[in-house]
Amino acid sequence: MKFSEFVKPEAIRAELTATDKDGVIRELVGSLVNSGQINADQLDGIVKAIMKREELGSTGIGRGIAVPHTKHPSVEELVGTVGISVEGVDFQSLDGEKVQLFFLLISPPDRPGDHLRALENISRQLRDETFCRFLKQSKSSADIHELLEEADNNQAV
């Protein structure tokens, strides 16, 4: 599943300002509210659900990457966003490193396949160290969007 199928350019956040886990998740979900993909009255519930999922084990998967996520009945299709923290945020990752790259996913309760395919794409692209490095260096959401588009276009069909 390509990035363009679940990440809208308006929801992408370069230079996240939050410095802790709760704050960064709130900032990312907030960007989905601003892009019109999530209703403002769902924000608190979604943030809470994502934080609960984090309590089961951090979604910080190492190499400065985290994939916070939840299922939520308020969405009809998988929605996601990408955020970059210049300083990095402590996310209790498997390797103990701070997280700079965030891929946040909210999926409808009965679509585990879509969630897996989004994870597959994130994994495939992020195994490319150059792609990771360029993402971390991105200064604007337009830059990030361009990188995601390039990654989409380069992937084998």
């Binding site: 998967i61 939840t70 585990p112 396949g113």
Partner: protein
């Protein structure tokens, strides 16, 4: 071994596999129809996109290879403990 989990190998099972594999000195690889990934890397494991019922092979190489394989096969056979509890708790695992 067969993936025995309705949600497939999503992030949490991948995390459990990598965490367990990381306890062993041996190199651990998971194979899905010919493509092989590092069993200690969550990022690589989720790249398999292994849904429920997928057949995977496990290979380990090193001084504790047998123990590593045995432990990971057991994790698969148990269907990744905590999944049901996590689901009941949260609606998302």
């Amino acid at each position: 071994m067969t993936v025995n989990n309705p949600q497939g190998i999503h992030l949490r099972p991948a995390y459990l596999i990598a965490e367990l594999a990381g306890k062993y000195e041996s190199v651990v690889n998971l194979d899905k129809s010919g493509s092989s990934v590092d069993g200690k890397s969550v990022l690589e494991i989720i790249g398999l996109a292994a849904g429920n019922g997928t057949e995977l092979k496990i290979h380990a190489n090193g001084p504790d290879a047998n123990d590593a394989v045995e432990a990971i096969v057991q994790l698969f056979e148990q269907g990744f403990p905590g999944e049901e509890a996590a689901k009941a708790e949260n609606g998302r695992v």
